[in-house]
């Protein structure tokens, strides 16, 4: 059976060169980077080399990179670490409704502990309006966190404009760049952000290695206390093999970026074009300001999990933001915040493409997907429409 992996927003396979780079650190080079003998100092040197490579990917200084265990940890660290470090200056933080749970739930934690949180509305494309950010800033505001690229709808946010507004009001800006780092060019100086989260497994590195960029001179309260690792900002013995893998993956991502973007962008456009031939399928997210490898849709009258299962039976792997695919049985808050009716959000399906996908993969999907849709619609009581349910369709 053919296999088409279209779930790169979930995770990516390891690049073979990354694997090779990691192997010595899983075998003989097992030293603790804090040890003073050579086995330890070699591990320390290797980590510092990785830090340089990761920094170079986003035009940061190596000492501005703090390695963490995951993108979620980096996001928790940024939001909680800055809110706490600046609590004498104010108790208000701003996040958007397009954020990942690791940001939203960190904000809720702060809310329970006396902070005030503004959850910014997003438009039908999932975009945060910088003007809205401006109006939300108060004297108490210490931090704004807005996602850079949405893994659910692919939309890329106007972070530069948001950062500019924040700077004028002396508010710190964090962006969750987990979906974008290593996938599109990122320059922290140009973006003007103070903090930025990224994770290795989104650009063919291993799971278990991620990083938070913390602008030089910015004070942040650690999430994990202990030893002096990461300059005392993140304790715990380093996950050396994963960090080495992240460094190699960052180096490869930088070298191959334009090729990868062109490749997945072309496949994405092929897919979006092909989907237009199926009735009542709507693109979600911004049509132009979107991740190169991201194509997300709502398919009317059917449900996402059922689509995923039938596609998986054909060797096609994708994702959905439907209520039935989430353990919490709630449709994606991002889709709902974009104003997509809940019944339509049930038909959410997300394809995220990567370097190993081919145009044959897209042809195969475009051959199989209409059959899946038709089969489920034949089963659906809404095959002839929503009837009196009055579902307003206002997608792209």
């Amino acid at each position: 059976m053919k296999k088409c992996y279209f779930d790169h927003a979930a995770t990516n396979p390891l690049h073979p060169d990354v694997f090779e780079a990691m192997v010595p650190y899983l075998k003989d080079e097992f030293g603790n980077p804090l040890s003073i003998y050579e086995l330890g100092t070699r591990a320390k040197d290797a980590i510092e080399k990785s830090r340089e490579r990761v920094a170079s990917l986003i035009n940061a200084k190596p000492r501005e990179i703090v390695f963490t265990s995951s993108g979620a940890e980096a996001n928790n660290f940024a939001v909680r670490g800055i809110a706490l470090a600046r609590q004498n200056e104010g108790n208000h933080i701003i996040v958007s409704r397009a954020e990942h749970h690791s940001i939203l739930n960190s904000a809720r934690f702060l809310e329970k502990n006396g902070f005030v949180v503004t959850y910014l509305l997003i438009d039908k494309y999932g975009i945060v309006d910088p003007e809205r950010v401006k109006k939300s800033i108060t004297k108490e505001t210490t931090l704004i966190s807005v996602i850079h690229g949405s893994s659910e709808v692919g939309t890329i946010e106007p972070i530069r404009e948001i950062a500019q507004i924040a700077k004028e009001r002396e508010v710190i800006v964090h962006t969750d760049a987990v979906a974008t780092a290593g996938n599109i060019p990122l320059n922290v100086k140009e973006l003007g952000v103070d903090l930025l989260s990224m994770t290795a497994h989104q650009f063919y590195g291993p799971k278990g290695a991620a990083a938070l960029y913390v602008r030089e001179g910015l004070r942040i309260v650690p999430l994990i206390y202990g030893g002096i690792q990461e300059g005392g900002r993140r304790a715990g013995t380093e996950n050396v093999p994963a960090i080495i893998g992240m460094g190699k993956a960052a180096e490869l991502a930088k070298a191959e970026m334009s090729f990868r973007m062109e490749h997945s962008g072309m496949l994405r456009d092929m897919m979006i074009e092909g989907m237009k031939h199926i009735d009542n399928v709507y693109l979600t997210g911004h049509p132009a300001e979107r991740l190169p490898g991201h194509a997300s849709f709502c398919v009317e009258y059917i449900e996402g999990e059922a689509m995923l299962l039938l596609l998986a039976a054909k060797g096609i792997y994708a994702a959905s933001g439907s209520a039935c695919t989430s353990k919490a049985l709630k449709a994606s808050p991002v889709l709902l915040a974009m104003g997509i009716p809940a019944a339509l959000a049930q038909g959410s399906i997300v394809f995220s493409l990567g370097r190993e996908n081919t145009d044959d993969n897209i042809d195969y999907l475009l051959e199989e997907f209409p059959k899946v849709v038709q089969r489920l619609r034949e089963m659906s009581p809404y095959a002839k429409g929503w009837g009196d349910k009055k579902v307003e369709v206002e997608c792209v």
Binding site: L309, A313, C324, P341, A342, A343, M379, P381
Partner: protein, 136 residues
Amino acid sequence: MQKAGEIRRWRWNVYSEKVMDHFMHPRNIGEIPDADGIGMEGNPVCGDVMKIYIKVKDDRIVDAKFQTFGCGAAIAVSSMVTEIVKSKTLDEALNISKATIANELDGLPPEKMHCSNLGADALKNAIEDYKSRHAQ
């Protein structure tokens, strides 16, 4: 070892083979144009919707079909319900509980148990519909 009355264990994230069989090859899809009872349950806004059609003869269900908007579990439940009600008396059919359906499917993940609930309720609604049509 499964104790009597206990709902079978599931593997995290994985449907039983029986659920997958009923999802991949659903029995009794479609409408019955001259159905004696029709029952609907659920709401597309929060998840699944099941519509069950029954044909009744001498207080016995002789045919059943379904239309379902929903996940794999919802479709498998609909297929299973329409299978097990056939040739049951109306009273027997009314006694089909969500646990019966889940067990017939070799268990459902905990967050999918409400699907078997929907199946049992849609069936009850279809029987009530039949009864109200034949009350006079």
